[in-house]
């Protein structure tokens, strides 16, 4: 335990790009960097879409054309702040009644330097839902599916030989592009 609360995932990065550019890349161009392994649809993912406006949808389009919702834009304040609703439950289903928040902040540190922070909070909400999932454990796309993905990431990291958020970047990125 390093003082990190159990119900929050927090990330900090320095991006060597302007604040405006970093915000644009994260939002408008999400499809160009979102890892293809991170999708919930039955078919492979063709496109990740974030509608760049207050209340905009956040979803994926599968290669079969099916759209799967991920959530929506709760706060749209370019180029400073973005809050997304992550409405994917622990069994990888979109649930409009389920909501965890992902907040991204972009702080200008220089003409081509931006401090980026991301916080995924309300993770405790996965708890009650996770309990229901035990009964449906064997279902494909349930915990089994998640564990497989989890293990893949673990193995990728192990191969990279690092575990920190900073040092594992290059290996994680290579794993993405290799897919």
């Amino acid at each position: 335990m390093t003082g990190q609360k159990n119900d929050v995932v927090r990330k900090e990065l320095m991006i060597k790009a302007s604040q405006r550019r970093a915000f644009q890349a994260f939002t408008e161009q999400m499809d160009l960097w979102w890892p293809r392994s991170h999708h919930i649809g039955k078919s492979e993912m063709k496109k990740a879409v974030l509608e760049t406006k207050q209340g905009g949808r956040w979803y994926e389009i599968g290669v079969d054309g099916t759209e799967c919702n991920w959530g929506k834009v709760l706060v749209w304040n370019p180029p400073h702040k973005l809050v997304l609703a992550w409405q994917i439950t622990a069994d990888w289903q979109y649930d409009p009644d389920f909501l965890t928040e992902v907040e991204a902040n972009f702080i200008e540190k220089g003409p081509k330097l931006t401090s980026f922070t991301l916080e995924h909070r309300n993770i405790e909400k996965f708890g009650p839902k996770a309990q229901e999932i035990w009964s449906a454990f064997d279902s494909e796309g349930g915990w089994m599916g998640m564990l497989k993905t989890f293990a893949n990431i673990a193995e990728t990291d192990a191969a990279g030989g690092t575990s920190g958020s900073g040092a594992s970047k290059s290996s994680a990125h290579q794993a993405d592009t290799a897919r």
């Binding site: 550019r21 960097w33 993770i123 309990q131 564990l147 989890f150 990431i153 673990a154 594992s168 994680a172």
Partner: protein
């Protein structure tokens, strides 16, 4: 961060993953697991200790048996999964934003 890597290592091992998956189906004692797997009882105990330290399983004494089950809250697993997921996604985002910035 240290905590996340503990769970990752725990589930990165195939035997521990197998144990974890069996426990997710139903609670089991060490002896049940040892009978089902090509692993000795002490080895199973060792794996269970790692899973327990990683916050993935809990143990309860039932008579003379220590019965293990997956932590029903499941929150820690989910948090650690998301932790790694964002690491991966943001590394990709950073590389993209900086590359396109040139």
């Amino acid at each position: 961060m240290a905590n996340a890597s503990i769970a990752l290592q725990a589930l990165g091992d195939p035997t521990r993953r197998e144990i974890f998956e069996r426990l997710a189906r139903r609670p089991l004692a060490v002896i049940d697991l040892a009978a089902a797997l090509p692993v000795s009882r002490p080895a199973v105990s060792q794996h269970l200790r790692v899973l327990k330290d990683a916050g993935l399983v809990i143990v309860r004494q039932e008579g003379t048996r220590h019965v293990y089950r997956v932590d029903p809250k499941g929150v820690e697993v989910m948090r650690q999964y998301l932790d790694r997921m964002w690491d991966k996604a943001l590394a990709s985002f950073k590389a993209f934003a900086e590359r396109e910035n040139q």
